[in-house]
């Protein structure tokens, strides 16, 4: 038990350092880039509105003080949950993000879970039957999906299933004017296509990892033993091989969570889904830097938390984890 605590303590340290670096990066980037950092910090819209307002805001935000002092007050604000003010939305950045984040998570969670399950099962079967017709077919298909830009596949799906076939709505979260169960059904209907696209990509990532890890394990001695005992192929695969191949996958799924978030940002834009993706898109177009910085901070924090949870899960699942061994 103490070993496990040591392992977790080291992970906590590692993630704290990562978070600290991310926070510092957001402080440094606007101040190190060419051009007037005030444009980046207050947003272009404000900067060109009036010089008096700029001086006033500089004083208000402490931008006329030396860097270390600015850094301290920046950290203080962060701790209090103050991410700055979005001039594009005329709201505190945190309020905007808190609302939009919800809708991105609604898309992400089913996609990550479905993608993991499908990827694991299909990948395991393909790796087990490596080289047969099924493996070749499925692998080719997934290689092709892997090569597509996420948002372009989304555009293709909209063209086929929404534009021509009319099976799904073109865009948005809900048609509006609905309440209760009807609204829920409407939202589910709207999210079907984006979730399907994201699930495809999630499946693809997990498929290749699972497939190669099963191929590797299939040549181990214990698999031969299991077969020699007379176990059915299905039992060998799902009881012996899969159990060993699953462990590294926990970490990998968490790392892929970062890719999935990036994918979700782009897919959302195509579907005009009012989550973080459309938010970032608007922020880029309006060059609303406080909003961009806040979005990045929140997204990065979510990815860090997901990875940390995966490490905790890994420690719980794998009895071999020892804290005193430095990797």
């Amino acid at each position: 038990m103490t070993d496990r605590t040591g392992y977790l303590a080291r992970q906590v340290l590692r993630y704290s350092i990562s978070l600290f670096i991310i926070v510092t990066l957001i402080f440094l980037i606007p101040r190190m880039m060419p051009g007037d950092p005030f444009v980046s910090l207050l947003g272009e819209e404000v900067y060109y509105r009036s010089p008096e307002l700029v001086t006033e805001l500089k004083a208000q935000y402490g931008l006329d003080r030396p860097l270390p002092e600015q850094y301290l007050s920046y950290l203080q604000n962060l701790v209090q949950g103050n991410l700055g003010y979005s001039f594009h939305y005329s709201q505190p950045v945190w309020d905007v993000i808190a609302y939009k984040m919800k809708w991105t998570i609604v898309l992400l969670i089913p996609a990550v879970i479905l993608g993991a399950i499908l990827g694991i099962v299909v990948g395991a079967v393909a790796g087990w039957r490596r080289g047969c017709g099924l493996d070749t077919g499925v692998t080719s298909l997934f290689l092709f999906i892997y090569s597509m830009p996420h948002y372009w596949l989304a555009m293709l799906f909209v063209l086929i299933f929404a534009f021509y076939l009319g099976l799904f709505p073109l865009s948005g979260i809900t048609g509006g004017g609905l309440e209760g169960v009807q609204k829920l059904r409407d939202v589910l209907w709207h999210m079907a296509l984006p979730v399907f696209v994201l699930t495809l990509f999630g499946t693809t990532y997990n498929y290749f990892i699972m497939r190669s890890s099963v191929v590797q394990i299939a040549s181990e001695g214990f698999v031969l033993t299991a077969r020699a005992k007379g176990l059915a192929e299905i039992d060998v695969l799902f009881r012996h091989v899969l159990r060993n191949a699953m462990l590294p996958l926990v970490t990998v799924i968490a790392l892929d969570f970062g890719f999935m978030v990036s994918g979700a940002l782009l897919v959302e834009i195509v579907f005009s889904w009012g989550g973080m993706g459309t938010l970032v898109y608007d922020a880029v177009l309006a060059r609303d830097y406080p909003l961009l910085h806040g979005s990045f901070l929140v997204i990065a924090a979510c990815v860090l938390v997901a990875n940390f949870l995966a490490d905790v899960l890994y420690a719980v699942l794998d009895p071999r984890i020892k804290g005193d061994e430095t990797a």
């Binding site: 590692r14 350092i17 670096i21 991310i22 597509m148 372009w152 880029v284 830097y289 990875n307």
Partner: protein
């Protein structure tokens, strides 16, 4: 097999492409890549129009304009042909920068070990966890839009997996007799690293390079789509971005936004196929040795 093919095969041996056992994914990938390289090199001869020349907007596909025209009347087919140049250029250069950084980090981290190794790998671990695309969005949003900035940003953030792979290969190599022999002859560390260890890691580096080109092309397409691309260069990503933001998507003008997407997908696929095929071959050999 012709004499030419045999000679090509000889020079490809270095990076692990053995012509006698070229599997179908590698072969198909190489063919596809050759096609796109031809398109990029001979673009001025293939494209019927100057892709920058404005004309009548929103023309439908016809014999005059095979894929119609865009919102300011530029010929879409010509844009597509010239786009191969920019997209491949960004892919290759960004991959070159990222693999160069990753190789240096991996070489020194694996060869020096100890404190240097821990610091370098610690940094690698941290960068690996930070979601790359959102950070790239921030960095490119703060710089003026240009393909060089995109290349630098991709290169600066994408070297982690190369560093890890090179490091583990170097850890194996540094214990081998030939390295010890060089050391006992009085060779310096720098000489050993670049003269003896680097050449032996080329195969791993090449495999990584191929996959990073694919990733870099996709990332360029994503950044361009978000409006962070170089407005002075016509990449496939920029074409998609314009088609999306200027009404091509909403109005269902598929001839405007399907072809650039197909080109990106196939060009990326060519690299992915080569990388995947080589990996499968290695694995096949490894398993064969084991049994």
């Amino acid at each position: 097999m012709s004499e030419f093919a045999r000679r090509c095969a000889g020079s490809l041996d270095l990076v692990g492409l053995h012509a006698r056992r070229l599997s179908w994914p590698v072969l198909f990938g190489l063919l596809l890549l050759a096609l796109f390289l031809m398109l990029a090199i001979f673009a001025p001869f293939i494209a019927p129009y100057d892709p920058w020349e404005p004309g009548r907007p929103f023309l439908l596909p016809s014999t005059v304009h095979p894929l119609g025209t865009n919102d300011i009347g530029q010929d879409i087919f010509s844009e597509l042909v010239f786009g191969a140049r920019i997209s491949l250029f960004v892919g290759f250069f960004a991959a070159f920068v990222s693999v160069a950084i990753g190789t240096l980090v991996g070489l020194f981290s694996g060869y020096l070990r100890g404190a240097a190794d821990e610091v370098l790998m610690g940094v690698t671990d941290i960068i690996l966890i930070i979601p790359a695309l959102p950070l790239m969005i921030i960095l490119t949003a703060h710089t003026s839009p240009s393909i060089w900035n995109i290349i630098i940003v991709i290169g600066a953030l994408w070297w982690c997996s190369t560093a890890r792979v090179v490091r583990s290969r170097v850890l194996q190599l540094r214990e081998m007799p030939f390295v010890e022999a060089a050391r006992s002859l009085g060779a310096g560390d720098i000489y050993i690293v670049f003269r003896h260890i680097l050449p032996n890691t080329l195969q791993v580096i090449m495999a990584k390079f191929i996959l990073v080109v694919a990733g870099a092309m996709l990332t360029e397409a994503s950044l361009s789509f978000l409006g962070l691309g170089d407005p002075l260069q016509k990449s496939w990503g920029m074409m998609l971005s314009y088609a999306f933001s200027r009404g091509g998507f909403i109005n269902g003008y598929w001839w405007w936004y399907l072809p650039p997407g197909i080109c990106i997908s196939l060009a990326v696929l060519s690299f992915v196929l080569i990388g995947f095929g080589l990996e499968e071959q290695d694995r096949g050999e490894m398993n064969a040795n084991r049994l």
